[in-house]
Symmetry: C2
Subunit: 303 residues, 2 copies
């Protein structure tokens, strides 16, 4: 068994973008993705697809890119690497639903390779409910764990903690949502393992439309009113804060002349900020706020 070439990985990832967009359009019922194809002056390009004002999805993006060229100095310095050309391909998704009862979701898979032989995989999937629900959280984490366990029983516990640490707003002392998994710089020691890690990323991406389809279908039936819309706007504000202040990928992209519109397709359609906002004692909002914490074992969560 030989390992796939970088071009083959880009090809599989781009077909995964097609698959996910199709599934999301079916689940939404009316929304359609609009595609922007773009070229990177220094090499490569991408296809950014954005859906606006669907039945369930208010604003969402599914982006594919495959870029190459001299490795930016900032990456070389940060990762302590020697000068070489790089190739990077990935699929990145953020969906903001209309209903505050449906969670925001994010997924990313990426492959990075340098012509001096360095290579690694990264990715993850995490959920940001406007309202945390124990059963939803349990379902989400169990489904993600099932996929992890098909590959390595060490993946879920390790990558779950990684997500808790990564999706954390230090200035608010709160997690972005209920986490999920996050992994980065995973290297293969041989071709067999390489293929295995690649397949893991594909299994995660295949899980994505199934998982989010579940929440789109189930949670969009839940009632809500002005109070829930207002809380959703504040939670969207926190999503903006995380992405612009802490997200390493976003910061890096904006700092190295990435394609701004593609990077910021993760922004919600709108967000609000309220000085010193306080949740009511015993409210659903307070329950959510109280569970934006690292280290919660959602698999065995009991209300």
């Amino acid at each position: 068994m030989s390992r796939k070439s970088k071009e083959e990985i880009a090809e599989v990832y781009s077909r995964m973008q097609d698959h996910i967009c199709n599934e999301l359009e079916l689940a939404d019922g009316s929304g359609k993705f609009i595609e922007d194809r773009w070229q990177r002056p220094a090499g490569g390009g991408g296809r950014t697809r954005v859906l606006k004002n669907g039945t369930i999805i208010e604003k969402g993006g599914v982006a594919f890119s495959a870029v190459h060229g001299p490795t930016p100095d900032k990456i070389l310095k940060k990762l302590n690497l020697q000068k070489a050309d790089f190739f990077a391909t990935g699929v990145s998704i953020v969906l903001h639903p209309k209903s505050p009862m449906v969670p925001i979701i994010h997924m990313n898979i990426r492959y990075f390779e340098m012509d001096n032989g360095e290579h690694w995989f990264g990715g993850g999937i995490d959920l940001t409910p406007h309202y945390i629900d124990g059963d939803d959280a349990k379902y989400f984490h169990q489904e993600v764990k099932n996929v992890c366990d098909q590959y390595d029983s060490a993946y879920y516990p390790k990558f779950k903690n990684w997500a808790d640490d990564y999706f954390f707003l230090k200035h608010r002392n709160e997690t972005r949502g209920i986490g999920g998994i996050f992994y980065d710089r995973i290297k293969a020691k041989d071709d067999l393992e390489f293929e295995d890690i690649l397949q893991f990323s594909l299994s995660l991406s295949k899980l994505f439309p199934k998982l989010y389809g579940h929440f789109m279908k189930k949670n969009s039936l839940l009632d809500y009113g002005e109070n829930e819309k207002s809380w959703q706007s504040l939670r969207r504000g926190r999503y903006v804060e995380f992405n612009l202040v802490w997200d390493a990928g976003t910061k890096f992209g904006l700092d190295t002349n990435g394609r701004t519109e593609s990077i910021l397709m993760s922004m919600p359609p709108m967000a609000e900020w309220d000085y010193m906002h306080e949740t009511k004692i015993g409210s659903k909002e307070e329950f959510t706020q109280d569970h934006l914490k690292k280290g919660i074992d959602w698999l065995s969560f009991v209300k």
Copy 2:
């Protein structure tokens, strides 16, 4: 003539906060500032004052603080300084008006001192109109220049360029607004000069309510509709992007356990993001977008 002590400077600055809040409440007509007093665990504290839902101001903050203690390692490292205790005091203002025809304004004055003798002043004032108007821009820059010229004719040109460079969104290749002045780490060589720089900061703060009062009165009479509100929301999105991605003060505060609610009082009440938004040819929005550039000489600007 002897120089004022750090306690005296904090006292004058805190009285300036009082003066500005009073003037703004008078100009707004109905809005009232609510005060939060807070203590910094490591030393000092502040008074954050926020006004919500006034007649003209939708959300605005005027914050005073005077903090002290061991200088955070991040400052020592960044500025290449030796370990010492520090004292910092300042007044910081951001006002988001209800009407898209009234500009967003920001002002800051600050004084920093270390017990090894290091000291400096910083500050500035800048305007972010949702709609750039040549006459408004000229008036604003002329008034600011007049104050600068009372102290040093080199101030305005130097600090104007500094503001152009500082209030810049690199990832959008656009300035935040029409700039103004920005200065930092201005040291005095003797007591006379020290007093002069301090007075300069006080003259700027006294100019502030006069300047913004002018725009509150004049521009709040201008008509607007859905189109202008929608554009305002997008411009507020850019304001959020600048503050969370590029503003050194915000980044530093969030990174060093500053008081989050005081730092983020600069956030607009709400903001919107639209993927690949395009302005109409010949529109007021396009005119604004085209003038978010460094190096424009607003004093002699002709439409």
